[in-house]
């Protein structure tokens, strides 16, 4: 399945053609897949004051803004320890290493996710083992996960995608029954809670990604590890700074501390931390706004029979829905994406290829057809614009365009 290449903003070189279509110049306004420009502008006085704090201190990474952000994020999530790092991917690698993953050990992950959910396992020295997902949550199916456990399995790592969490009750039971370490790839799960406990601290630890389009987004790469385990936090804190223990954060001279572990440079930039601190101040409002926009989408799209699935918006079980991505499933997804691009509406395909069919995992020997739910999701899913800067009128325009597409195709 080739990706649609609808709207991207992390890509090397020239933008790929949008399936041969360019936005119709007659469309006066464009609805990008993502923008935070208005939010950023509104928060600018606060961001500027944090930048001043950073510049007065004169430390531009691993400095006072990172320290303050870690504390504030800890208070907001309830995680006892927050370790700020360079990206969500690095956070996963450092977390797996900090949990004591032994070389060659197996980590059970879902077949449907962003690449980092499995590449982090390889980078931490382990071997990913895939399991199919629950088509209702897009998260790893607990029974499939259980079937994937072998004598070599050390960790099980569910991923919370888009708007709801994996079944942490069942996965927690599986982990304790089989004596596995439970780690959460909660990169997308800012604000998601299971019976009130924030994603990432239900097992040994979890991560957050602050990739710009995330619910809590920086204006560059950044991520964090969340954990309630002191030792994991200490180890991850050292691994991000060349394996050096001690108070390296906001403290220059400790760059001479002994290297106790073969570590990385995964320090977070203070510019990013300054932006994140400002955005954290309105995160509750942003999440509520996303919920409101999602409800507006569902009201309209639930009426269209061609839309096979919308995420719904209602509280279903112990995990409140928190909308990072508004994902629908349709047949002829790529045609719809092209049509919307033509109407000036950006969309994204999360994710066009399941992990077990990625070329980089060919060595694991999986075949097409092994994980039907993951493969179906990859073939049908389309993410619509969803971010606090979006207006209800924009949502209406997107829904009208989708309706027009299906009307046109019915004729």
């Amino acid at each position: 399945m080739p990706p649609t290449g609808a709207t991207t903003y992390v890509r090397e070189g020239k933008p790929a053609p949008r399936n041969g279509l360019v936005p119709d110049p007659a469309q006066s306004t464009v609805i990008p897949f993502f923008s935070q420009a208005a939010t950023f502008d509104r928060l600018w006085p606060l961001i500027h004051s944090y930048l001043d704090e950073m510049m007065d201190r004169g430390k531009y990474s691993h400095g006072n803004q990172v320290a303050a952000f870690e504390a504030e994020l800890g208070a907001w999530t309830g995680a006892r320890y927050v370790v700020g790092v360079n990206s969500g991917t690095d956070a996963l690698v450092l977390l797996l290493r900090s949990c004591g993953l032994t070389p060659g050990a197996e980590v059970v992950v879902p077949a449907f996710s962003f690449i980092a959910s499995a590449s982090s396992v390889v980078l931490a020295g382990g071997r990913p083992v895939f399991a199919d997902v629950d088509p209702g949550t897009y998260a790893i199916d607990a029974q499939a996960a259980s079937a994937a456990v072998t004598s070599q399995t050390q960790v099980i790592m569910p991923v919370h995608l888009f708007s709801q969490m994996a079944d942490m009750q069942a996965l927690g039971e599986l982990a304790s029954a089989r004596q596995l370490i439970l780690v959460e790839d909660s990169a997308e799960a800012v604000g998601m809670r299971w019976h009130g406990t924030h994603a990432g601290v239900l097992g040994a630890g979890g991560v957050l990604s602050f990739f710009p389009s995330k619910i809590l987004g920086a204006i560059g790469d950044a991520g964090a590890i969340l954990t309630n385990d002191r030792e994991i936090a200490r180890t991850a804190g050292a691994l991000r700074h060349h394996g050096r223990f001690g108070k390296t954060l906001d403290n220059f001279p400790l760059i001479s501390n002994p290297t106790k572990l073969p570590g990385f440079n995964s320090k977070m930039d203070d510019i990013q931390a300054a932006v994140l601190r400002a955005k954290l101040s309105c995160l509750d409002k942003d999440i509520a706004r996303r919920q409101e926009l999602a409800r507006a989408y569902s009201e309209r799209l639930d009426m269209m029979p061609e839309v096979i699935r919308t995420p719904g918006t209602e509280h279903r079980g112990p995990s409140e829905m928190v909308f990072y991505v508004y994902l629908i499933e349709v047949e002829r997804r790529d045609r719809l994406a092209s049509y919307l691009a033509h109407r000036g509406i950006g969309t994204e395909v999360y994710y066009p290829t399941p992990l077990h069919l990625q070329p980089c995992f060919a060595y694991l020997g999986y075949r097409k057809g092994e994980f039907p739910c993951a493969e179906t999701a990859c073939a049908r899913s389309l993410a619509l614009p969803l971010y606090p800067d979006l207006s209800l009128g924009d949502v209406e325009r997107v829904c009208d365009a989708i309706r027009d597409f299906f009307r046109g195709s019915r004729r």
Binding site: Y9, F40, W44, G58, I115, D221
Partner: protein
């Protein structure tokens, strides 16, 4: 106190930085990572280096890892690295599954000793990774010769050596690939973390471009050919580096001038147990001005009393670091690296030191009297 790590590195660029953050944050494109600024920065650096491939990445450390992966270093391989230097020299090798083999350094220049390197080559050796240290480039012509003779890859840890050239050939371009680090204290430091890989090999550059962005196909998003990293470059920092690049030559020149002054003042101290770094411009870059002092701790205290902060970069040779001590046989020793770890002391050399401050620092060093040994 004259600080060793000055907090006012970017004082004259404060407004520029604030403006860049605002314009990227509110920009119409909403592009934040590996965008046009990054591309422009890569192009500008390439031009500055006389035309080569430049791949911006998240740090110098990450750059070393990307190179090692891209040239195929992995389990069972050995990479010869200096015993005296920064942790990434060894951890980058360990983190791709290979084994660092530590070679001793020259006692004066503190860079890899070519004879030590040759003695450590085994059938498992796949690459040499010399590093430029403080203000001195490694003996790259000799390293190249050894690499060619033994058919080894040559990775140049030029993280600290932006702007240096040896015999007219720039640092970073002597091996299969080299790296630069842009962490704030470096000569081309930035307002955050960043780095770049430099290589004359376009295929290697393409592979590194892919590896820095999750092994992703350059044209098809979410198609991943290799298990890659997230080691990308942020637009805010790329724009800031473009803003700072035109002043770089002057800042490098100012560092070299300060070093010249220090050299003239410190030459007579050799009899009193303080050795200044080797002089000159060829193969030099003056990122860190590090003395070799027989009574280092005494000198450090003395400087502190005179209001001059100093810094010990590598108080322990790499093979003795807890992370790496199990990677070599206990019989091996590195006397020069040990001596360097005991005796080197870096004093401030950053370009915005005033002439008066530079004199004060030199006076402080010159007024040190060794105690009886």
């Amino acid at each position: 106190m004259i600080p060793f790590f000055p907090p006012d590195l970017f004082e004259s660029d404060r407004q520029a930085l604030v403006d860049i953050v605002y314009s990227v944050g509110t920009g119409r494109e909403q592009r934040f990572i590996l965008g046009h600024y990054t591309e422009q920065l890569e192009g500008a650096l390439s031009k500055w280096l006389g035309g080569t491939q430049v791949v911006a990445c998240s740090s110098g450390t990450a750059g070393l890892g990307l190179i090692l992966r891209a040239i195929g270093i992995g389990a069972g391989d050995e990479v010869i690295v200096p015993a005296f230097g920064c942790a990434p020299l060894a951890s980058a090798v360990v983190n791709v599954g290979a084994r660092p083999v530590f070679a001793d350094v020259d006692p004066r220049t503190l860079v890899l000793d070519p004879d030590e390197v040759e003695a450590l080559i085994t059938p498992r050796t796949r690459a040499l990774m010399p590093a430029h240290v403080f203000s001195v480039m490694a003996d790259m012509p000799k390293m190249r010769e050894i690499a060619e003779l033994h058919r080894l890859r040559l990775v140049e840890d030029s993280a600290v050596a932006q702007g240096a050239a040896l015999d007219g050939h720039p640092a970073g371009r002597w091996g299969d690939a080299g790296v630069f680090s842009f962490v704030q204290v470096k000569t081309f430091g930035t307002a955050g973390e960043g780095g770049a890989v430099v290589t004359d090999d376009p295929d290697l550059a393409s592979r590194i471009r892919m590896l820095r962005n999750h092994g992703q196909d350059p044209d098809h998003r979410f198609v991943h050919h290799e298990v890659g990293y997230n080691s990308r470059f942020d637009e805010v920092l790329a724009a800031f580096q473009l803003h700072r690049l035109p002043g770089l030559e002057n800042r490098l020149e100012r560092r070299a001038k300060i070093a010249e002054y220090y050299r003239a003042r410190f030459c007579p101290l050799e009899d009193r147990g303080i050795i200044a770094p080797p002089p000159g411009r060829n193969g030099r870059f003056y990122y860190v001005y590090s003395l070799i002092a027989q009574q280092r701790e005494g000198l450090k205290r003395h400087l502190g009393r005179c209001g001059v902060a100093s810094h010990v970069y590598y108080p322990m040779p790499l093979p003795y670091q807890p992370a790496f001590e199990t990677l070599h046989s206990s019989g091996q020793t590195w006397p020069n690296a040990e001596h360097a770890s005991r005796c080197t002391l870096a004093i401030p050399v950053y370009p915005h030191l005033s002439d008066g401050q530079v004199e004060r620092i030199a006076d402080a060093v010159c007024s040190f009297r060794q105690g009886r040994r």
